[in-house]
Symmetry: C2
Amino acid sequence: MDRKLASAMANKPPLISAAIRAKLDAARVARLATLDDQQSPHLVPICFALDANVFYSAIDGKPKRVAPNRLARLRNIEKTPQVALLVDHYEEDWTLLWYVLVRGQAELVSAAGERERALQSLRAKYPQYRGEMLQEDAALLRITPERITAWGDI
Amino acid sequence: MDRKLASAMANKPPLISAAIRAKLDAARVARLATLDDQQSPHLVPICFALDANVFYSAIDGKPKRVAPNRLARLRNIEKTPQVALLVDHYEEDWTLLWYVLVRGQAELVSAAGERERALQSLRAKYPQYRGEMLQEDAALLRITPERITAWGDI
């Protein structure tokens, strides 16, 4: 294969299988791991939408412990964009457990067109976002997968 | 306050309130964030038991993608013991969301007495662990909290 093409492909997000996509689309919550400025892991549950091959998440109107612009996840990805995102399913029958681990880069979405698309994806998935809970000017994160690992009943 | 006493207290795991403890005891799954040798975050769902003020988790008999001694979480904490552990609750009524974020140090449990105690705690919490799913010689992790943050409906 042409080296340039191979390299371009290597930089593209990995394809997501139909089975994994179905789990991710149905999942209502994920957990986002970031690194703080001491290089210690930080972890927070997030709502998210999978749009084509990237994930979007919003700094929404849920109560926050600090002002939105001081949120750990935002400060952290500004300095260290490398993140992990986990979507999993628990039940007492452990033969039915599964998880999808996404490792990649997180970045604030700034372009108006992409912001619109992210807001639409999030509002389509979460009725809660069709009101004031998700403001037009909310900070929006894009998580671009580099590696996706699936385990269990998928 | 006597400086030595203050320092000893600072090194003790933070006390866990009754309300938080009730949530942690009832929770069936947590998510553990570790750092790999590239200092990238890694994330995995784990079963756990809270015993007094530390958390225990086992490398159990659930199918693994790699041999137990090659598991990412073990390799990672050996090099970087700093971890984050998240216990959270999702439902569509977002006024009922909550999470507990624990940041601290993870270590393999080696002393026989503590291993016995960890196995007992895990078996008391998970009926699934009363059979072959949890072997007597399983690797056991202790997570000692340094900071605990609670958010939402707790």
